[in-house]
Symmetry: C2
Subunit: 186 residues, 2 copies
DNA sequence: TCCATCATGTAAACAGTTACATGATTGC
DNA sequence: GCAATCATGTAACTGTTTACATGATGGA
C-alpha cells in the first residue's frame, strides 16, 4: 500500500513532456527509437541528439516517470523504457488543461522578427528579401501538403490533423507576407 | 586604409541578430533600453533578462559589431552602444536573403505538439483540453487585435504589420483547433 | 573477414534563465 | 534623509548542441 505524501510532482520541460508523449504513444522503447521520432519529424526544432535524449531519459527514470527494463539478448545493453503511473500522470499534467500561456499564445516566428527591421534595408534588399521568403515558403507549403496527403492516404488521422495545423500556419504566414509586400512596395 | 583579409564575419544567433536590429532601429542605446524592448514586446519568447543581454552586448562589442561610448555625466557607468559598419553588415546578413529554412519553415507550436498526443487522453479530458485551449486562444486573439488597432491609431505601420502577423497566425491556429474539435468529438 | 551502420553513451561548449548584489537616481 | 526604483552587472544552474568514443550488428 502506497502512502500519498503530498509530494507534488515537479513540472516537466517541453522536451521532457514530448518524450513522455512519445513513449506513451509508441509503447516501451529505447532512447534510440525516441531519437528517431524527433529526427524523422517534419519539425526540426529539436535535433533529437544523443546528448539531449540519453541524459533526459536517465533524468526521467531517476524521477520515477520512466521505468527501464533490460532487453534480453541485446549485446549493447540497451534498455526499454516505459511510462510509470507517475509518468502517465506527469504527461497528463504537462498536456493540460490548464493550458499555459506559452502553449496557446503566439509562437515565436523568426520571419516576423525580421519584418520588424525591414525598414532598415534599402528598397532593393527589401524586395529581394520578400521575394526569397515568399518562394521558399511556397516550397515549404507544397512539401507540407504532400506530406499531409500521404498521411491521409495512410489513414493516420492524427498525423494528418497535426500536419494540417502546420499547413494552416504556413498559409497564414504566406498570406501575411503578401500583405507586407503590398504595404512596403507601393 | 583597411585591408580586407577575407575574415568572414561569424554568423550571429537569433537573439544576437535581434539585438543588432533593435540597436539599428533605436539608434545608440544602453543595454537597459535593449532589455526594455524585449520586456515590453508582446512576444514573451525572450525574457530580456540582464544575464542574457549584458554578456551579449559585450560579446558583440568584442567581435566588433557594436561600439560602446561612455555616457558623460552618468554615475552608473552606463555606455551607449551603436552599430559599427561590420555590425550593420552582420545585421543585413542575419536578416537575409537568403532566408534560412528555420526562418521561413514551420515555427514550433507547443499546442500542435500536444494535439499529437491527444488520443492518449480519455474523451472527457480531451474535451476539457480543447475547450480550455479554445477559450484561452480567443482571449489572446482579442488582446492582439486590440494591440494591433492601437498601433494603427498611433500610426506605427511596422508594429501594426507585425502584430497583424501574430493575429493571422493565432487565427489560423484557432481555426485549426476547431477542425481538431470537429474531428475528435464526433 | 571486413566495413558500414546501428546504438549507446560521454565531454565540452554555449546560450539563456533565475536570483542575487550593488550603487545611482528620483520622489516624498 | 529615506525608500522605491532604476540600471549595471555577476553567479550558479539548466538544457541543448556538436563532436567524439566505443562496442555490436549485419551484409558483402
Amino acid at each position: 500500500m502506497s502512502i500519498s505524501v503530498g509530494l507534488r510532482t515537479m513540472a516537466v520541460t517541453e522536451l521532457e513532456g514530448t518524450v513522455l508523449g512519445v513513449v506513451g504513444a509508441t509503447g516501451p522503447c529505447t532512447p534510440y527509437v525516441i531519437r528517431r521520432v524527433f529526427q524523422e519529424s517534419p519539425s526540426t526544432y529539436w535535433s533529437g541528439s544523443a546528448g539531449a535524449i540519453y541524459p533526459l531519459v536517465v533524468r526521467l527514470e531517476r524521477r520515477g516517470l520512466l521505468h527501464a527494463r533490460r532487453q534480453l539478448g541485446d549485446g549493447r545493453g540497451g534498455k526499454l523504457y516505459r511510462l510509470t503511473s507517475d509518468g502517465r500522470r506527469a504527461l497528463r499534467r504537462w498536456m493540460g488543461p490548464p493550458c499555459a500561456d506559452i502553449t496557446v499564445g503566439v509562437p515565436p516566428d523568426p520571419l516576423r522578427t525580421r519584418v520588424d527591421f525591414l525598414h532598415l534595408l534599402d528598397p532593393a534588399a527589401r524586395r529581394a528579401f520578400l521575394a526569397d521568403a515568399e518562394s521558399k515558403m511556397l516550397e515549404h507549403l507544397e512539401r507540407i501538403h504532400a506530406y499531409s496527403a500521404r498521411q491521409l492516404e495512410l489513414g493516420d488521422r492524427t498525423e494528418y490533423l497535426v500536419s494540417q495545423g502546420s499547413a494552416r500556419m504556413m498559409q497564414a504566414r504566406l498570406d501575411w507576407l503578401r500583405e507586407v509586400v503590398r504595404e512596403l512596395t507601393d
